[in-house]
Each structure stands twice: as structure tokens, then as C-alpha cells.
């Protein structure tokens, strides 16, 4: 057994982690890029510190430098990192291997990627315990089950034998936490631990992390882009911008009296109760956006979209063996083998109205939007768009119809939704060419007009998606969606992959476009705070059914269903 690298009484009186003047450089094709510059952070024993910043601010790189897991192109150029007085920068790779997991461990963003997909979760916990020689091999099994119990996985003895794919995202993240805490480290670095998780799962996971680390007197670094989340769970917050620390403050102070302009901008951009869309923008920009005109109520008009008793069924997988399927292809599938993703929902959208469709992952909101979009076929029910039952038209034929022009979509991930081999101009021009009937020689002018409309600099039109930032890609996606002047746009979490400040701008842009073009929105999201800003009406879905429907103000202030209340309570409430 190797000796403990840090003895418990070593480094008394010193902070647990002391980062001084840290500079990290990356060697790239165009020379050296400084990702982190002169960063100073100290973390005391038992303290929870949040590092907040937008993508590219160097917050993750800082933590990778501390763990010494920078990729090959990056190296620590300057500064010192000491852990209880132990110099991490000078430590040998062998010592670092001992340190990682035993003294400091990390939770990564995507729990599913962090787990070995073909190894039982119990075995994976045992691996860590045995690796660091924490327990003897005859009790390691008990210890692993104990760890699963600690992170509140129900029926831990059974789940010991589960594979990661059999568990939900939230459960996977619990297993990752169990892995990280198994060797009782003194420092836990959580790098966006809840991004991609539902808001209720986020609350459960964060509560668990905070409680466990507090119980064990551990220090935690929470790396996040969500100022609200950091302020809720951390005692101190470090704000980073472009590789530099711009502000360090107690979390109560930071919301009340943000000192730095960037912190103020971030804070303003964070959606929170009691504000309207223009409030999200930086102070100097609010002047030019006019206050929102109330959406005209057009009660006498026929609604644009009426969805009635819509159902989507999928055969349950794995119930009947493939051999059985082979021999009885045409036999009707028994009822029990059918899974109803969308279970008889009805709603309508008026012209110029924006409706929010809210629920957690797996509630059927995406399936609903795909059916309305006519990308997949329904199982039963009707989708009436402007008097015509479009649900009857097979999805495979819909692409060639003139109706296609009138329903468009903005996708969740701006990167994934742009063809990597087409320039921005070509991407925007695609619908114009196929359905718009715009002659080729006028195409460029059209694209430039659309780019101006969504605030995309015209000179960026010739770039490929990977040369654009997240916000610019989102604008290209929006320009493509409005190119055909549709009546209905489905927004599928259009800002989920964006930084808060970019989200603020994009939300405002969407609102302006709606006002000027008179479109209707169906806004699909799991974030009630965002939905509140953009939508007139909210529909809350759970397990394929609508649990609550009503005006935004009503649903958010006086929720009727327990589930809505649960959703609202799970939103992080920073101390204001």
C-alpha cells in the first residue's frame, strides 16, 4: 500500500487549495492562446465555492489545471497550485494519480459518459475503492452497496448489478457522485454537474452534493454558468470572464451589490421571478427596446392550431424476443407491449399567441412538437392547422407540400442543427431555394436581409458553423426558420445550449420577431423561468398527459396541480 500523499495533520492552518497567479496556455495553430490568466483562488476546508462564467471563460480549464488533467495542447505556464501545502504543479504523475480520487475528485457534466457503459455500477465503485486501497477486498462489496445507499439510490443491493444504461440521467449522476466520494476526498470539483438534467433532478442532485460534502467536512468547487444555481448552493462565488477573475464575493452580496460590470451583466441576464424580457439585457441596451405591447386578443378568430386528443404510441422494446417477432410479424401487438409517449392531449394556439409546453424529459413534449411539426406520424387524434387536418397527411409526404412553409422550427442545439459543410448563407438559403421560390440571383440579397433581421453581421454569412459562436449559430437557425415567413414556429428549447447572456439576447430577438412578423410560437422547454418571459399561456405536461393549462401569470403564481408546484419549487432560489 502506498503512503497517503497528504497526511491529515500536514498543512494545518493553510487553506485546502491555494491557487496563485495561475496561467494556462494552449498551443494552437495560430499561436499560443491564454485560456486562464493570473488566477488567484483559495478554498478553505469545508467551504463551498462557485466558479461562474460563460463558455470560454476558463472556469473548467482552471479546474483541469488543478487536477492536472489538461489535454496535450495545454500546460500551466505560470503560477502555483498547492493543496494543503503540497505543490501540485511540481508533483510527479504517480503522485497525482494517487491524489486524484483519494484527495480530490471530480464530477463531470455528462454522467453517462463518465461511467463505463459495459460494467456494473457496483463494480465500478469497487474499482475505485480497490485502486486507492481504501478497503480490503472481502468487504469491498458491502462498501459499494453502502455508497449507493449514501447517494440515496433505492434498492442499492439490486442496483449494484445494474448497468448505466438501465438508470436515468439523475441516477447516473448519483452513481458518479458515489464514485467521487468513495475514497473520502477532501476536495470535490463539480463541473456543471446538473447541466442536461431536469430541474427537479437538478435540485435533488445538488441538495445531495451539498449535504454529503457538509456532513464530511469536504470542500467543494461548483463550476457552473448558472449564477442562480451557484448563489443558491455556494457560500462564495468567483466570477470569471475571458480567463480572468473579475469578481470574488459572498453569494448574498453578489446579487445585491455586484461590483463588476460583467457580474452585473450576468446577473441581469439570469431569468428570475418578477422581471420582463428587456430586463435581461445589459443596462445600456434596454433603452432601445420598447416596452412590450400586450398581445392583442383575437377571440373571435379561428385558432391557428387545434390539437385534439392526440396520441402517439410506441411498441415497448425488449418485451418480445426478436425470434418471436420474426415468426409472427403480422400478429397484432398486445396492449401491454405498447408505450404511450403522448396520451390523448388537446390544446389550441391562437394567431400571434405564444404557448409554452413545459415538462421534464420523457414527458412527451418533444414527441408532441414533432407530431405538430409533421416530422413523425401520430397514432390517433387530430392536428388541425388553419382549418386543415394536417395530421392525416403522412410525414413522408409533408415535406413537398406548400403547407410546409407555414410551420417551421428552431432546434435545441444550434450546432447540431446546422450542416457542418454548409456556410451560414447556404443554410439560410436552403428553405428559400426549396420552398420559397426565390430566384438564385436574388438569394444573396434575401439572406442578407434575413441576417440583418436576426442581428447577424452580414460578413459572417460566408463562414462555416464551426467558425461561429453559439449565439451566432442560434441566429442562423432562427433566420432559417423565419425565412419562409411561417405562421407557426416551434421553439424546441432554443436557448438550452446557450450562455445566459446570449440566451437573454436570443429571447429578446424572438419576442421582437414575433411582434413584427405576427407569428405564433409553441415554446417547448423544461425551464419555467424562461417560459414565463416569452409565453402568454403555459401547458404543463407529465407522462404524456396535460396536468395543467392556463395563462402564464396564473399558472406560475397560483399553480393548481401538485406537479406544477413541485416544478416551481425546484427552480434555484438565489438569496436576493
Amino acid at each position: 500500500m502506498l503512503k497517503r500523499v497528504i497526511s491529515p495533520d500536514e498543512g494545518k492552518g493553510l487553506p485546502l487549495l491555494d491557487v496563485k497567479n495561475l496561467t494556462v496556455e494552449f498551443h494552437t495553430r495560430r499561436g499560443i492562446v491564454r485560456a486562464v490568466e493570473h488566477v488567484n483562488v483559495t478554498i478553505e476546508k469545508g467551504e463551498t465555492v462557485g466558479i461562474v462564467g460563460e463558455s470560454g471563460s476558463g472556469k473548467s480549464v482552471t479546474s483541469y489545471a488543478v487536477m492536472r488533467i489538461l489535454d496535450r495542447a495545454g500546460h500551466i505556464a505560470d503560477g502555483s497550485v498547492s493543496f494543503s501545502g503540497f505543490d501540485l504543479r511540481a508533483a510527479s504523475e504517480n503522485d497525482m494519480r494517487e491524489m486524484r480520487g483519494r484527495e480530490m475528485s471530480m464530477i463531470f457534466q455528462s454522467p453517462r459518459l463518465a461511467l463505463n457503459p459495459i460494467r456494473k455500477i457496483g463494480k465500478q465503485i469497487e474499482d475505485v475503492l480497490l485502486q486507492h486501497a481504501q478497503v480490503d477486498s472481502d468487504v469491498v462489496n458491502e462498501k459499494a452497496v453502502e455508497m449507493l445507499e449514501l447517494v440515496r439510490i433505492a434498492r442499492p443491493r439490486e442496483r449494484y448489478h445494474a448497468y448505466p444504461f438501465e438508470l436515468s440521467g439523475g441516477m447516473c449522476q448519483r452513481v458518479v457522485i458515489a464514485l467521487a466520494l468513495a475514497c473520502k476526498p477532501q476536495l470535490l470539483i463539480a463541473d456543471e454537474p446538473t447541466t442536461g438534467l431536469d430541474v427537479t433532478t437538478q435540485k435533488a442532485v445538488m441538495d445531495l452534493v451539498v449535504e454529503l460534502t457538509r456532513e464530511r467536512g469536504m470542500s467543494t468547487i461548483l463550476i457552473t454558468h448558472d449564477l442562480g444555481l451557484a448563489a443558491t448552493y455556494c457560500s462564495r462565488i468567483v466570477v470569471m470572464e475571458k480567463g480572468k477573475i473579475v469578481e470574488t464575493a459572498e453569494s448574498e452580496v453578489i446579487f445585491r451589490k455586484p461590483a463588476h460590470a460583467y457580474t452585473r451583466k450576468l446577473m441581469r441576464a439570469t431569468p428570475r421571478p418578477g422581471i420582463s424580457l428587456p430586463d435581461l439585457l445589459p443596462e445600456n441596451q434596454t433603452a432601445k427596446t420598447k416596452p412590450l405591447a400586450p398581445t392583442p386578443k383575437m377571440r373571435n378568430q379561428m385558432p391557428l392550431l387545434v390539437v385534439d386528443n392526440l396520441v402517439k404510441e410506441y411498441p415497448r422494446q425488449g418485451r418480445s424476443g426478436s425470434l418471436g417477432k420474426l415468426f409472427s410479424r403480422n400478429r397484432p401487438v398486445p396492449e401491454s407491449e405498447i408505450f404511450r409517449a403522448v396520451d390523448g392531449i388537446s390544446f389550441s394556439i391562437a394567431r400571434g399567441e405564444s404557448v409554452g409546453l413545459v415538462g421534464e424529459s420523457g414527458c412527451g413534449k418533444s414527441t408532441t412538437s414533432m407530431m405538430v411539426m409533421r416530422l413523425i406520424d401520430k397514432s390517433a387524434g387530430s392536428i388541425v392547422f388553419d382549418g386543415e387536418d394536417i395530421g392525416e397527411i403522412p410525414a413522408s409526404r409533408f415535406a413537398s407540400l406548400a403547407l410546409r412553409k407555414r410551420i417551421q422550427m428552431v432546434f435545441q442545439d444550434p450546432t447540431d442543427s446546422l450542416n457542418p459543410r454548409l456556410t451560414a448563407a447556404r443554410a439560410i438559403a436552403d428553405p428559400l431555394l426549396r420552398l420559397g421560390g426565390v430566384p438564385r440571383n436574388k438569394l444573396r440579397a434575401h439572406c442578407e436581409g434575413l441576417a440583418r433581421q436576426v442581428g447577424l453581421p452580414v460578413e459572417l454569412l460566408d463562414r462555416f458553423p464551426h467558425q461561429l459562436s453559439g449565439g451566432q449559430k442560434a441566429r442562423v437557425g432562427i433566420a432559417r426558420a423565419i425565412a419562409l415567413k411561417p405562421d407557426l414556429i416551434i421553439l424546441d428549447e432554443p436557448t438550452a445550449a446557450l450562455d445566459v447572456s446570449v440566451q437573454a439576447v436570443v429571447l429578446n430577438l424572438l419576442q421582437d420577431l414575433k411582434d413584427s412578423l405576427g407569428m405564433s410560437y409553441l415554446f417547448v422547454s423544461h425551464d419555467l423561468n424562461v417560459v414565463r418571459l416569452l409565453c402568454d399561456r403555459v401547458i404543463v405536461m407529465r407522462s404524456g398527459k396535460i396536468v395543467e393549462e392556463g395563462s402564464t401569470a396564473h399558472v406560475l403564481v397560483k399553480p393548481q396541480a401538485d406537479y406544477t408546484r413541485e416544478l416551481l419549487a425546484a427552480i434555484p432560489h438565489p438569496p436576493l
Binding site: 485560456a35 483541469y64 459543410r421 460566408d462 463562414r463
Partner: protein, 300 residues
């Protein structure tokens, strides 16, 4: 290391100014970054030169026999020596480049078009298309490939065209499988959905949106099979199928020289064999470089 990638990309995007000769510049960068790629491209240029102008510049007529100078070892007059009929091996090796490269290129062009399209369609549409394409690929894979190629050439007739066809057929499964897997991953990608919303027909999505995106991977495959195709063509000629003597061809020349190695005339088989090896080696190395060239993500 998401974050570090973002940092680098943003820095690159700032520095990036779209330039007219960016493709050339990019090619130069790819080669200077990776010395092996640079070497492979240099070798490729040499092979291409031999194939294009070789027949016009060689010192001797590759078919002219000289009974006074048979089985001469390498000398200043005959750099690679002469064979049993007194033909100049250097000239024959150079002239053979064109035929071997022609067979390899045309068979790879044929199979990458057929296999690539079939594979993309199988991956994108699934269902019956997938079953048919996959089973055809499985059937071909069930044979020892070289023996299958022998059988095809023997059955169809002993011509260069049939060597091209046989080489294409035995490489079909490689292309179909790679293209199928890549198309399958992209079938539900956001940009494919977006293309559908823009009113693109399925065929358009397949050809204009999915196919270009799997080009980088296909490029690697193409370069690897080029080497394999040359080897295959030479192998067929070696056992007496396909190209017939006295046409200069590396496989035949190795076959002709094989019997003389034991009696000490090593140069007859060695030089065509070395040319063959260099060509295969070059095409195998080329793969990475070609992928970097056609992948827009690498062009930051």
C-alpha cells in the same frame, strides 16, 4: 475537454478571415503540421508523375528485347538491370505505374460510388434497403476475397476491365458498411431534420446533406483501398490472371523474376516489388492527410 476546445476555437474564429486561396493554404498547413503526411504527398506526386509522363521519358523501350544483354545486373546503362529477354527493368517499372494506378483508381472510383451510395441509403432508410445491402455485403465477405476476385476474373474473362470490376466487388462491403454506419448516426441529426423542414426531398437530403458529411471518413477508406487495389491487381497478374505479358506490370514482373532469385538474379523481382510496396505504403499513409484536407472542422 469541452472548454479548452471552445477557447481554442473562439481564438481561431477571431483570427480567421475568409481568404480566397484558403484551400491551398490549408493543404500547406496540413502537410507542414504532419511530416508523415508531407512525405506521403511527396511520394504520391512522384508516383503520379511516373504514371503521367513516365512512358515518354524512360531511357529504353519497355518492350524491346536485347538478346545480347540478358540478365545483366544493375549498371549505369540499365539502372535496375535487365531481365531474361534483355528488357530494361527500370523502364518497365516506370511504365507499369500507369497501368497499375489506372486499375486501382478506376476500381476504387467505381466501388466508392456504388458502395458509398448503397451504404448511405441503407443507413438512412433502414428497413428493406438496409437488409438487402447488408446481406449482399455479408455474402461477399463470406468468400476469401482474393479467391473471389480470381473466380470473377476467370469467369468474366481475362481483361483489365474485369480486374477493375473484380477489385471493386471485393471492396464493396468495406464501403457499404462504413457509409451505412455513418449515415445511420446522422439520420436523426438536427441538420437533417432542418433540411426536411426546408422542403428537401429524401433523395436530396441523402445526396446533398448526408453524403458530403461522411466524405472525410470515406476519404480514409478510399486511400486505404487504393493500396489494397494495387496489391490485388498485382496479385492477380502474378498468378497469371488479368494483365498478360509482355505488358509491363509490377505483378507480372515479380512473377517473371521469382524463378531467378534462386540463381542470384535478385534484381528482376526486387525492383518491381519495391515499387509495388512503395505505392501501397504511400496510399496507406495518405489517408490521414486526405481526411484532414476534406474535413471543414479542421480548417480553423
Amino acid at each position: 475537454m469541452n472548454e479548452s476546445a471552445t477557447v481554442i476555437r473562439q481564438a481561431a474564429a477571431v483570427a480567421e478571415k475568409p481568404q480566397r486561396n484558403s484551400m491551398l493554404r490549408h493543404a500547406r498547413y496540413v502537410m507542414s503540421e504532419n511530416a508523415v503526411t508531407g512525405f506521403a504527398f511527396a511520394l504520391f506526386t512522384l508516383i503520379a508523375l511516373c504514371a503521367l509522363v513516365g512512358p515518354y521519358v524512360v531511357p529504353h523501350d519497355p518492350l524491346a528485347s536485347d538478346t545480347t544483354a540478358t540478365l545483366k545486373p544493375p549498371s549505369l546503362a540499365h539502372w535496375f538491370g535487365t531481365d531474361q529477354l534483355g528488357r530494361d527493368i527500370f523502364s518497365r517499372v516506370i511504365v507499369a505505374t500507369r497501368l497499375d494506378c489506372f486499375i486501382a483508381l478506376s476500381s476504387v472510383a467505381l466501388v466508392s460510388a456504388m458502395g458509398g451510395l448503397a451504404g448511405v441509403a441503407a443507413g438512412y432508410f433502414g428497413g428493406w434497403t438496409d437488409r438487402i445491402v447488408s446481406r449482399i455485403a455479408d455474402t461477399i465477405m463470406a468468400f476469401p476475397l482474393f479467391v473471389l476476385a480470381m473466380g470473377i476474373v476467370a469467369a468474366l474473362g481475362n481483361t483489365v476491365t474485369n480486374i477493375v470490376i473484380a477489385t471493386a466487388i471485393i471492396n464493396f462491403p468495406l464501403y457499404a458498411r462504413v457509409a451505412r454506419a455513418e449515415a445511420n448516426v446522422r439520420r436523426e441529426a438536427g441538420f437533417v431534420q432542418a433540411a426536411r423542414l426546408s422542403g428537401n426531398s429524401e433523395a436530396r437530403i441523402l445526396l446533398l446533406h448526408i453524403l458530403p458529411n461522411i466524405m472525410p471518413i470515406m476519404m480514409v477508406q478510399i486511400s486505404l483501398t487504393l493500396g489494397y487495389a494495387i496489391l490485388n491487381a498485382a496479385g492477380l497478374s502474378f498468378i497469371g490472371l488479368g494483365v498478360r505479358p509482355p505488358t509491363p506490370e509490377w505483378g507480372i514482373m515479380v512473377a517473371e523474376g521469382a524463378g531467378n532469385i534462386i540463381s542470384g538474379e535478385w534484381w528482376i523481382a526486387l525492383f518491381p516489388g519495391a515499387a509495388l510496396m512503395l505505392a501501397v505504403f504511400c496510399f496507406n499513409l495518405l489517408g490521414d492527410g486526405l481526411r484532414d484536407l476534406v474535413d471543414p472542422q479542421r480548417r480553423t
